[in-house]
């Protein structure tokens, strides 16, 4: 296991390097003037002198590779620069927000895995049956529905029409302290929508996996032994059918991040998505670059996690290979 983790880490280094370089290259090709972006509307009336000074301060007049290397070395030391949109060190911006994003994403992921597993198994039990048709149609429709749209509809229904759940934010502001209960109430809608947006994938893959497993010999063997259908499903079909799903769970991290970006925006959840969108509208390069790298890191971590999960779940997989 240690070797696998090591190999993954070794792979991560060049990937992160390449991604950061790509980010710098895109920025270098951009017609956007980072100095003007930094100066904001004040920059419109600022003198050329001031702009030149800023340019020197931001170091945008140096060659691409130098800037990239400087950024990389200071990033390794923990200095990610200062966000021009939020005028705050990038590390602080991320530090304050990433926890909430992780909370949202993991809650949603958990719901999606559990619900998706359940629906997938229900559908797989009788391919072509009405449960199967209902579940697959639902999954396809959900897959086609943009999460932000779903979020708005859900918000309209539950927060505006029924008034049972808060429409957004993290807490009620009347209060000044974040309590778990409040966060939980505010978490329901965004996590629910994010889970819905991730659900189709789980449903369809579990349905496929379990459906295939139901056709295979282990299940035939289990049936022949006289096991109850429930035991056959949960103890055999599900357990072998979930294996391919496990390997792919890590590959869901990008989609999860994508969904979280949209859902956080709809529900003004104070995670990194809000920061991402804001930094994007302001062409805030330091923050955007750091967020891109962070997301890449999360994806790589997800891949590692999937490998480990698969290794834990399937005794046939050795970790020496």
């Amino acid at each position: 296991m240690a070797r696998l983790a090591g190999r993954r880490a070794l792979f991560a280094v060049p990937v992160l390097g390449a991604v950061t370089f790509g980010v710098f290259a895109i920025a270098a090709a951009s017609p956007f003037d980072p100095v003007k972006a930094y100066a904001g509307t004040a920059g419109l009336s600022a003198s050329q002198e001031t702009l030149d000074q800023l340019r020197a301060n931001l170091g945008t007049d140096r060659p691409l590779v130098t800037r990239w290397w400087d950024w990389l070395t200071s990033a390794v030391r923990g200095d990610l620069g200062v966000s021009s949109a939020l005028r705050q060190p990038v590390a602080d911006v991320i530090g304050e927000r990433v926890g909430w994003s992780v909370l949202l994403a993991s809650a949603a992921f958990l719901v999606a895995v559990l619900l998706g597993g359940l629906l997938g198994v229900l559908a797989a039990r009788r391919p072509g049956g009405w449960t199967d048709r209902a579940v697959t149609s639902l999954a396809y429709t959900l897959e086609a529905a943009p999460p932000f749209w779903l979020g708005l509809l859900v918000m309209w229904l539950f927060a505006l029409r029924l008034g049972v759940l808060p429409a957004g934010g993290l807490t009620d502001t009347g209060s000044t302290v974040v309590t778990a209960g409040e966060v939980a109430r505010h978490l329901v809608l965004p996590a629910g929508v994010l889970a819905l947006s991730q659900l189709p994938w789980f449903v369809l893959y579990v349905r496929q996996g379990v459906g295939d497993a139901l056709q295979e010999d282990p299940v035939r063997g289990a049936r022949a032994r006289g096991l109850a259908e429930r035991t056959v499903l949960t103890g055999h079909a599900l357990r072998s059918g979930m294996l391919p799903v496990l390997t792919l769970i890590g590959s869901r991290v990008p989609e999860l991040i994508t969904g979280a970006l949209l859902v956080e925006t709809v529900f003004s959840w104070p995670g990194i998505a809000a920061a991402t969108v804001e930094s994007a509208t302001a062409a805030d390069f330091p923050l955007l670059a750091a967020l891109t790298v962070l997301a890449t890191f999360a994806v790589l971590l997800g891949n590692l996690l999937a490998d480990l999960l698969y290794g834990l779940a399937d005794p046939r997989v050795g970790f020496d290979g």
Binding site: M1, A2, A5, K36, G40, T41, A42, L44, S45, A46, S47, T50, A85, L86, R87, Q88, G95, E96, R97, V98, G99, W100, V102, L103, S106, M155, A159, L160, P166, A167, G168, G169, L170, T171, D172, T173, G174, S175, T176, V177, V178, T179, S268, P270, E278, T281, L301, L304, L305, L308, L309, L312
Partner: protein, 527 residues
């Protein structure tokens, strides 16, 4: 093993974030979530770039953290603040003498003196200070202290509205004087004499103010005043509805939805107009016939009813019709038929697609609005729609100011402006030909010698009747040659929780700063 450690790390991160946010949100000296009425959270749309008066913060008064020599009351009458009384005006309007209020202290305990006043004005006027609005103090020849408690301003010309300018907040010399005015920390950690002290400013998020117990006007009852900076209108509305905010500024369509929800809607009258610049440099918009046709082709009342939900008034020029400066007889009547006639007469003939042409020039021009500004977008769309009906095409485009600014000499822009204090304040920069292309001054490159002269007279004459005549001239010229199509004066709408009782609003300018709206006098609220 490895998987577990990852999970643990994730949990730690979450926990760390929880603590970080909870410590950021919890108020010292305040218990749980009862909040009570001694604190208020309001959502605002704009964030100041700096909190230093030296760089322009609070230049129109009412900055909460600072006081000016004078201040405005509810109906915009000047009242003494740091000055003990209204200034004595002598020398034919060229000398203003202010006696200062005694015993005033900055919130750090240091006394306020005439030296601070002199420091503030001199620093702003200094060439090295990048204060974009220093032009507003152009009339000042010198500022002098006479003893600790008197300040004398000497002017280059008898600038009639000068007293209105002295609402400008006063910064403490002992703090702001020791550092670089443009980059020093005073801009983020200001100290003033005002009713509130800054507790925290998390940029892009919120400004937290705390009552100044030693305020010369008496300690405010609202002990904690938080301004949440939420640029997105929809998000602001959402959070107001969810009880996250006690009050917020909202566009009309969103404010409408709050009727009868335990909140009150306040419509603050304003001088804030929305106008379309018709640049002189564009062959279509530079044509006086086109300008005049457009001026009467727009259905202003429909915009007020439809876009502003009735919360505003039609604009027949920069001055609202109910202002004493408004020139009767300059009202535009909606008359598309006449507009078409004007264009026909001027030789603009309808082309194949219904868009007029003249000498090979298509009656089409781009119309920019600030992307993300829904109100401007809707005005622009309605304008384009009305223009189309008389055969003129306004191609609506969205952009940020960076994109729009270089195009202003050629392209039309959905712009805004207006100031209630004095007609000079907004008309001079808007219409003077020598200010064309100077930042956001005279965005339409309006060039009219008679207007230029009248503006000069209005600015320098101390005589009220003479000034009125000058601004009448300006407004009449704008009918003859409308270089801008003025559309509406918009009411600023604020929705505030009932528990703060009945509040009031001032007449507001276009740049409604931090302290506009019902919380213009939050220090006087009696919860």
């Amino acid at each position: 093993m490895r998987a577990r450690s990852i999970r643990v790390r994730g949990a730690l991160a979450t926990a760390a974030a929880l603590t970080a946010v909870s410590s950021a949100c919890s108020a010292p000296g305040e218990g749980g979530g009862e909040g009570a009425a001694t604190s208020a959270v309001v959502g605002i749309a704009y964030e100041p770039e700096t909190l230093s008066p030296l760089l322009g913060f609070g230049k129109d008064g009412n900055s909460k953290i600072f006081d000016g020599l004078l201040t405005h009351d509810a109906d915009l009458t000047l009242r003494p603040a740091l000055a003990a009384a209204l200034p004595k005006v002598t020398d034919g309007g060229r000398t203003y003498t202010y006696a200062l209020r005694e015993g005033v202290k900055f919130s750090d305990g240091k006394p306020f003196t005439s030296a601070d006043v002199v420091f503030t004005y001199e620093t702003i006027l200094d060439k090295g200070t990048s204060n974009p609005s220093k032009g507003e103090l152009d009339a000042i020849r010198s500022v002098e202290a006479e003893g600790d408690d008197t300040v004398v301003f000497r002017l280059k010309y008898p600038y009639a509205p000068f007293a209105e300018r002295t609402v400008l907040p006063i910064a403490p010399e002992h703090l702001a004087g020791g550092q670089d005015v443009n980059t020093g920390s005073f801009g983020t950690k200001p100290v003033g004499t005002g009713p509130y002290k800054l507790v925290k400013w998390s940029k892009g998020e919120q400004l937290v103010l705390e009552a100044n117990p030693g305020y010369w006007g008496g300690a405010p009852k609202i002990e904690r005043f938080t301004m949440a900076i939420i640029k997105d209108d929809d998000v602001r509305a959402t959070r107001l509805r969810s009880g996250d905010l006690d009050g917020a500024i909202l566009p009309p369509n969103l404010a409408k939805a709050f009727k009868g929800s335990g909140r009150r809607t306040y419509a603050a009258r304003s001088f804030d107009y929305r106008t379309v610049t018709l640049p002189t440099g564009n062959k279509v918009t530079g044509d006086t016939a086109v300008r005049r046709a457009l001026d009467i082709a727009v259905d202003r009342q429909a915009m007020v009813d439809g876009i502003l939900e009735g919360a505003g008034r039609v604009a027949h020029g920069p001055v609202p019709t109910d202002s004493e400066w408004f020139t009767e007889g300059t009202r535009r009547t909606y008359d598309p038929k006449k507009a078409r006639a004007i264009l026909d007469e001027a030789g603009w003939r309808p082309g194949k697609d219904g868009i007029r042409e003249k000498d090979g020039v298509r009656a089409s021009f781009p119309l920019w609005y600030l992307s993300g500004d829904k109100l401007r977008q809707d005005h622009a769309l309605a304008y384009a729609s009305d223009a189309r009906k008389i055969g003129v095409e306004a191609e609506v485009q969205a952009g940020t100011w960076e994109v729009i600014e270089p195009r202003m000499p050629e392209d039309a822009v959905l712009a805004g402006g207006g100031s209630p204090s004095d007609p000079d304040f907004d008309q001079y920069p808007l219409l003077r030909s020598d200010l064309a292309g100077d930042g956001f001054n005279n965005m339409g490159w309006y060039d009219n010698a008679r207007v230029d002269r009248a503006l000069e007279t209005g600015r320098e004459s101390g005589d009220r009747a003479e000034r009125k005549a000058a601004y009448d001239t300006v407004q009449r010229e704008l009918v003859k040659n409308p270089g801008y199509t003025f559309l509406t004066h918009i009411d600023h709408l604020y929705v505030v929780d009932d528990r703060f009782g009945d509040l009031s609003t001032q007449v507001e300018p276009h740049d409604h700063g931090l302290a506009a709206g019902p919380w213009w006098n939050v220090e006087d609220w009696q919860p």
